[in-house]
Symmetry: C2
Subunit: 224 residues, 2 copies
DNA sequence: CTTCCACAACTAAAATTCTCATCTTAGGGA
DNA sequence: TCCCTAAGATGAGAATTTTAGTTGTGGAAG
């Protein structure tokens, strides 16, 4: 899940970034309106968090132009408590939800989850492949009832694979969703992390849930 | 030293990024013209590497507008072999040097060094503080003739300190030049890396070359 | 059909980067 | 002077990434 945060105050931006990254989202931060608009159009984000008070170009304008340009990504806007009519304008301009500053970070995370869930059309949010069950809300993963522990990157990769079970994911697709955007092609971190996942998930089983598709990428088996 | 690379082909971009990072520059990559222009104006880069063949806005236009907006940063343009008149236009628009694709990466690094040296007005490039000698070209550091080894980040931090010996560098200045732009304020990596440097440089000496300026930041002693 | 080669993928181990928790120090009140 | 707080230092170790050597695969050549 890739999220764009358009926010000019560095403190707030890095606070949000950190919180979202802890939840295993891939986060890009942009500090001004025009830049935000560019990124929103250039990359197919899963969610955009947009401050309405921006230098260069007001947030509402960014949103309007992005929508005009055909960007369908759900947008969560941030406003100061006083900017009530801004908020209304924001929702009119095509925002999907809003949050007033200052806000509890947990609130932001909850709304993020909600928006992503709504966009994905998933009713429960629980992912299951074979006897592996992943709960995106609590970030808990079990296999056959046994709890499994993952690091942030491992979890992000696993969730992406499970969300796309039965589909082949190329290395660049994985890169785009789980690692940084300007990613180095000449590394094999993905292979390494696949190996970590297999170690934890398939330990002791003969057939891995994660299949290698030679020359293309990897695929999570959609069913036994 | 912070460098902006504006280049749309991901392979080329990450190739350049990697090469520059290996030389301890802090590198930002931007994939289109408008974005490049924004970043060039928003951040005080030490060098901009600009592809002339860009989506959104031609490189020459980016350059013209940046210059019009008062951006003084040296610019190195990249062109395909066939785009001879583009190159001329680029130099007319205010570029400081050019390189034709395909190019040897060493060539790019050499020109980068040359441009940065020219801009900094440093004649030899060798930095010396007390008996610590740093050669930015070979990335070799010695103290009293003894060779010292550093990791990429350690080296970048040390070079920045030495280039500004006698001046107090705040944590945000260090952040801007050595770490990523959207840096987390709540971390103490800088302190940790200062500690690493002291361990390697001052091992066994009573007085550290790197002074702590309480409440402000750090400073490399300019002289004994 | 078999063998060989080149490339893709795998993995262990090392290196690097970053975080966290704890300890130390400096400086300003009470 | 003593104590308290904020700032800084640092060891331990977790997470991430790189490196390099090994293994596996499929196609080409014989």
């Amino acid at each position: 899940m890739r999220i764009l945060v358009v926010e000019d105050e560095p403190k707030v931006a890095s606070f949000i970034r950190r919180a979202l990254e802890e939840e295993s989202y891939a986060v890009d931060v942009c500090v001004d309106g025009p830049g935000g608009l560019d990124w929103a159009q250039a990359v197919n984000y899963d969610l955009i968090v947009l401050d309405l008070m921006l230098p260069g170009l007001p947030g509402v304008e960014v949103l309007k132009r992005a929508r005009a340009a055909g960007v369908k990504t759900p947008v969560l806007i941030l406003t100061a408590r006083s900017e009530v009519d801004q908020r209304v304008k924001g929702l009119d301009a095509g925002a999907d939800d809003y949050l007033t500053k200052p806000f509890a970070i947990e609130e932001l995370l909850a709304r993020t989850r909600a928006l992503l869930r709504r966009a994905g059309g998933a009713p429960t949010g629980i992912l299951q492949v074979d006897d592996v069950v992943l709960n995106p809300v609590t970030r808990e993963v079990t296999r056959g009832g046994q709890r499994l522990e993952f690091t942030t990157k491992e979890y992000a990769l696993l969730e992406y694979l499970m969300r796309n079970a039965g589909r082949v994911l190329t290395r660049s697709m994985i890169t785009e969703h789980v690692w940084d955007l300007d990613f180095d092609t000449f590394t094999n971190v993905i292979d390494v992390y696949i190996s970590y996942l297999r170690n934890k998930i398939d330990k002791g089983r003969e057939r891995s849930l994660i299949q290698t598709v030679r020359g293309s990428g990897y695929m999570m088996r959609s069913d036994g």
